[in-house]
Symmetry: none
Amino acid sequence: MRADARRNRELIVTTAIGLFTEAGPGVSMEEIARAADLGVGTLYRHFPDRQALLEAIALEALDRLRTLIRTAVAQDVPRWQALGRVVEHCVEQPLALIKSLSPATPADPRRGDLEREVNDLIEQLLEQAREEGTLRPDIPPREVLGLLNVAICRPGARADDHLITVILDGLRR
Amino acid sequence: MRADARRNRELIVTTAIGLFTEAGPGVSMEEIARAADLGVGTLYRHFPDRQALLEAIALEALDRLRTLIRTAVAQDVPRWQALGRVVEHCVEQPLALIKSLSPATPADPRRGDLEREVNDLIEQLLEQAREEGTLRPDIPPREVLGLLNVAICRPGARADDHLITVILDGLRR
Amino acid sequence: MRADARRNRELIVTTAIGLFTEAGPGVSMEEIARAADLGVGTLYRHFPDRQALLEAIALEALDRLRTLIRTAVAQDVPRWQALGRVVEHCVEQPLALIKSLSPATPADPRRGDLEREVNDLIEQLLEQAREEGTLRPDIPPREVLGLLNVAICRPGARADDHLITVILDGLRR
Amino acid sequence: MRADARRNRELIVTTAIGLFTEAGPGVSMEEIARAADLGVGTLYRHFPDRQALLEAIALEALDRLRTLIRTAVAQDVPRWQALGRVVEHCVEQPLALIKSLSPATPADPRRGDLEREVNDLIEQLLEQAREEGTLRPDIPPREVLGLLNVAICRPGARADDHLITVILDGLRR
DNA sequence: GATGAATGAGGGTTCATTCAT
DNA sequence: GATGAATGAACCCTCATTCAT
């Protein structure tokens, strides 16, 4: 792939993430193209249709998420603190997009893989936190994930958000 | 306003709430009209544009919410329990619509009034709960409202939801 | 169906037939709408998509064709003469459209029926002509149909066309 | 012109003829380029626009046609038989393209020349056939050409086609 | 000279909204 | 007052054509 093409591809994804974050999922392809200072045709050369662009955004977000969790899991700190860091970093990412934009059934197989991997990493962390005795045991890991998701993937979420404080406190044994 | 006109108006709002709840915010005016067994023209006679219908839905939801909170506030039970009941009842209402559909700036002045009234009622309840010593004091009432909002106004929320449990636990002193 | 709607529906079909006849199958929906002095939306209210309009045109053409053949078949004249009349009348119809526009597989079941009926009528006429001894017997009826089709359904066909004379002469015993 | 450039030019024309024959006139420039294993840019270097490519295809077809007729005319056989051979060979060529693709007004002057030359050759042959007494005299040569064109330039034409038999029989005195 | 990325006008289609019946 | 037909701006997408690499 040519250098300028790669640059444009990334420019499109970045621009699209920005617009979706600002203006919601109703943003048109035309607007994305204009914001990236490109023609619509260029968008469609990189992503055969709107769905494909959303898919790419989801992949990008999941990839960032994975890196983030891996780092946290690998740190030599109490698990509860590691969990806190994951959450903190998450809200700085445009993860809201994963939920709001991506379709239920991943067309790209890589997405399924990434989702599974991210889930596994998180569940591993949660399991460790439970063994450590800091996470309340009466809520299944899969649900904890959902809770954090809600806290994080919501317009206007910020790391010092009270909702996040409250949820973390509520999750503590 | 004639009796049948009022009936049609209510039919439209109810039908629209149903459709939006089932099928998300993308439902078209035509679909709403068809589901209510009316012509689009009739719909537009009652609501000059789509915005106005959404506004009406928000008003309806806020009105139900007000009734609900008033009842809870008036009951002779510990404040924490009253708060729990408000939350429980809320999730049984299609309140998700208030957030997802209504625009930031209320066009109808009655909506501003209702929102203020609902807020006041809730804050009053929260204040009492704090005095009672059951609500943690480090989070301002306005924010508590926001938290509950998130917990409640989210696709798939149910009264026995873990997120709600966790948030309520997290809010407890 | 309201009177004005029916009128518009017919106007659209007529206009479309005219444009397709003049300018070939590349005519856009926009152009058809403009030529009929209507908005595109109106086209799409009457015909859910381009295919449906083409289908309707094919139906219209087949219907005219059927009437025409029935009349000829019923006349008390030698079969060869009846056949000549069918051909003459055909070229005055926009039948070229049936071939050039309609898709291979008829979506509307009525179209299949009409096609079968028209074919049966023609084959009946051909059979009679053969018994009469005027039609050469070495070409199967189905093919005769094809031949006439080619002669008729071709841009610029006219009743006094030499191609038609030649084909009819060539078909004569 | 360099040898490889000439080769590419011919490759493009051949590929395009193949694709148009298989898939109709809707084939895109991109598809043609890909099928020829070239970039679109290369295609456009040889043909400034789509029209020019079609023109080149027409020229190619006319050229093949000329050779073919010349051979037939030069043969020492009855003129009627020579005519039959021309027709037979024609249907083995992708001549359908000449009609369906090429515009009414030839942009390239060479095309006008070729067309005139081909016409002259055919008319000469027809004139001889008429003198020989095998061709019916009541149809002007120019029209005979048209008739044969229709018979030949039609999707699915084959040498042993009944339409061709019928037309030849119809043309015989 | 070859390549394929970028461009943008144009095509099919939808849907909020207006207006004749 | 109810109805649903008409309207046209806006959306997604394609493809002939241009131009940077």
